[in-house]
């Protein structure tokens, strides 16, 4: 039986999440067949959700389309490979959503 306390807290978390997060979580859930409720803002796409780089291409495609952007995956990968960034900065979902918001804002600027 579901603990009502947990249910309430997850509902609260979902309602307080940004629209960007809700869109991204929906894309990940649908693309990778991951239950939506297991996808949290603090989830790391690779380490926590087990999404591999090939599956991430489908997610990137859907995010690019949904937000009208082109996520600079090559640049991000290069920064991680060069030790200039950690994967958390780009693949933890709250950080990913911040990057998406920045790209959307830059597009409109």
């Amino acid at each position: 039986m579901t603990d009502p306390g947990n249910t309430l807290s997850s509902v609260a978390a979902a309602s307080s999440a940004s629209p960007t997060f809700n869109t991204v979580a929906g894309i990940i859930s649908e693309t990778c067949d991951i239950p939506r409720e297991t996808i949290k803002p603090e989830s790391h796409a690779i380490n926590d959700l087990g999404i591999d780089s090939l599956d991430f291409l489908d997610i990137a495609f859907a995010i690019d389309k949904a937000f009208g952007i082109k996520m600079p995956l090559e640049q991000w990968t290069q920064e991680v490979n060069d030790g200039k960034a950690t994967t958390d900065q780009y693949f933890q979902l709250n950080n990913l959503c911040t990057r998406i918001d920045e790209l959307v804002a830059a597009k409109g600027a």
Binding site: L57, A60, F61, K70, M71, L73, E74, Q75
Partner: protein
């Protein structure tokens, strides 16, 4: 087609950077050891090779769009449909259109026709990476000439 060299297309007949489309043609050889096994007494062009032909067609489109700065590597194929048999000697008209160019990847929709009828189609995903070495790029440029790749379309695209 030179199946023994995995060259699945013969010629690029049209390329539009503006429309993000390409057309190519290929003639299925009348004889190949492949047909001895696939199948004895009933030679058929293998479906996986038709998919490869669509992938190669798409690959040249992506090389054109990225102006020879990236090499496309086949990464995924979705909704591949092999709609009718293709037999030795048949002429294939291949076409591909860009669906999305992401950062380091791209997706296309491709099909192949025989006598105007679609015989196969698929959505294909590629990883786009820098050429691993200059020799590789040079070999692709040489292949581009063989296939009559319209290099001027890149310059004016």
């Amino acid at each position: 087609m030179r199946l023994e060299y995995f060259q699945l297309i013969d010629r690029i007949v049209a390329l539009s950077i503006a429309d993000q489309t390409i057309r190519a043609e290929a003639c299925v050889p009348t004889a190949s050891t492949i047909f001895e096994g696939h199948f004895p007494g009933h030679p058929l062009m293998p479906g996986v090779l038709l998919i490869e032909a669509m992938a190669q067609t798409s690959g040249w489109l992506l090389i054109a769009i990225t102006k020879f700065t990236r090499m496309p590597f086949f990464a995924a194929v979705k909704e591949a449909k092999l709609r009718s048999f293709v037999t030795p000697g048949q002429q294939l008209a291949l076409s591909s259109k860009l669906v999305h160019e992401g950062s380091g990847f791209a997706m296309t929709m491709a099909d192949a026709r025989c006598d105007g009828k679609v015989v196969c189609n698929a959505e294909i995903t590629f990883r786009l990476v820098e050429f691993p070495n200059p020799e590789f790029r040079a070999s692709m440029e040489k292949m581009a000439k063989t296939l009559e790749f319209p290099i001027e379309a890149i310059a004016h695209g």
